[in-house]
Symmetry: none
Subunit: 222 residues, 2 copies
Amino acid sequence: MIKILIADDEEKIREVVREYAEFEGFAVTEACDGMEAVEKARAESFDVIVLDIMMPRLDGFSACKEIKKYSDAPVIMLSARSEEYDKLFGFELGIDDYVTKPFSPKELIARIRVAVKRSSAALAEADVFRYNGLEINFTAREVCINGKKVSMTPKEYDLLFYLVRNANIALSREKLLEEVWGYDFYGDDRTVDTHIKMLRNSLGEFRDHIVTLRGMGYKFEK
Amino acid sequence: MIKILIADDEEKIREVVREYAEFEGFAVTEACDGMEAVEKARAESFDVIVLDIMMPRLDGFSACKEIKKYSDAPVIMLSARSEEYDKLFGFELGIDDYVTKPFSPKELIARIRVAVKRSSAALAEADVFRYNGLEINFTAREVCINGKKVSMTPKEYDLLFYLVRNANIALSREKLLEEVWGYDFYGDDRTVDTHIKMLRNSLGEFRDHIVTLRGMGYKFEK
DNA sequence: GCTGCTTTTCACAAAACTGTCATAATCATA
DNA sequence: TATGATTATGACAGTTTTGTGAAAAGCAGC
C-alpha cells in the first residue's frame, strides 16, 4: 500500500486530498505545518510526501531540506500560482514535482503515482550475478543457463545462493549447514554432499564451478 | 478546438458563458437541466463539462455520476456559495473543480483551461501494465483479458496489483501479507494461497504468470 | 436481521523435497 | 599400486509444502 504524508495548513485541502487518496487505496497521514511534517516523516516512512510551500512554523522548502536528510521519499510541492518562480529554486532540494493551487485531487493522485513509480523504479535494480552463460537472479530467485531457466528445489537455490554470495571462499560443511540449513539443524554432515550433487546436476555445464575441497568442504569458483 | 458543455437552468448564465467562451475560441453546447446534459454528453464528446448543482429534473451531482459512466471528461461544478459543504462530498464522483457563484466568466474560462490541460496530462500517464492480451489498469482499477473486462474481488485486485507492481521479484507470504493485507493482519500464511488460487482462476490463460516459489512464496512473471 | 458476496480457516490429497544410507568412485600418500 | 580416507551417487521412505474444495466467519446493503 502506498503511504503518503500530506502537509498543509488548510484543513479543507488536507481533507479533500485524504478523501480522494483513501478512495484510491493510499494510506494518508496529515500534518498541519512544516514542523509536524518533519516529525512525522522521521517517525514513519512514506512513499511520497506532499508539502505546501506556505506553512506556519516551518515552510515547505525548509521542511523538505530537513526531511531529505533521513528520507529518500519523493517530495511533491504545492504552490500557489503566484509562487511560480520557486520552481527554479526548489529542484536542487530534491523536489520531484510541483502542483499548482488550485489543483484537482485527481491530478495530485496521478502525480503521486508517477513519483512512486519513478522512485521505486530507481530502487528496483535486480540483484544478478552473471558469469558467461550462467545467470543467477537473487531478486527473482531464478537461475538461467545460456538463457534457459533452470528450476531447482528450495534447498538448491539456498545453497547455490550462499555459495555464490561467498564465491571463492572455502566453506566447510559445518559452515554451510549452519548458514543454509540453520543453526538448529542436527543432521549428518553428508547431507551437504547430497545437495551439492543435486546442485551440480542442475548446473549442467557449470557444475565444475562448485569445487570440492578435500577434507574441508566446498567453494564456488568464479 | 476545445468543446465544452455548459448545463445551467438560468439562461442568463449560459448566455454569458457562451459569449465569453466563444470569444476564447471554444465550441459551446448548452443544456437546460441535468437530464439534457446527460443526453448531450452521451451523444457527443466534450473536453470539459460544466454543471450547475441546482438544476431541475436531475441535479448536477446525479448528472455527473451518470456522465462519468461513459465519459472521462473533467467536470466543473457550479455552486452557490452556501453549498460549500458539497465540495467534500463531490470529489469521489470525479469532480475536478468547483466554481462558486457568482463567478466571473474570466475565472470560469481559466479553470476550464486548467482542467483541459490536466485531463490531457492525466490521460497521457494513465498507469497501465500490458502484456500480450493482459491489461492491468491501476488507475481505473480494472483488468482486461483479450479486451474483455474481468471482475475480481477487492482482495484479488490488491494482490494482483502488488504482484504486478513487483513483477519478477520473489515475494514471501509474509511480505505479501504485510503489504497487501497490512502489517496488522494476524492470520494464517495459507490465506495467501487461497487468494492466489482465486486470482489464478480469474486470470484464465494468464494464470501461469503467477509462479509458485516452493518453500518461499510467489512472484508475478512478465 | 436477512441476504448475498467476500474473506478466512480448515482438512485432505497430491506433489515435491529432504535426509539417510549403502555402495561406488576418487584421491592422497606411503 | 595398495590402502585408508574421503567424496559422489542412486534409491527411497518420510516429511514438508502446496493446491483445492468446502465450511465457517465477516461484512455491506437492504
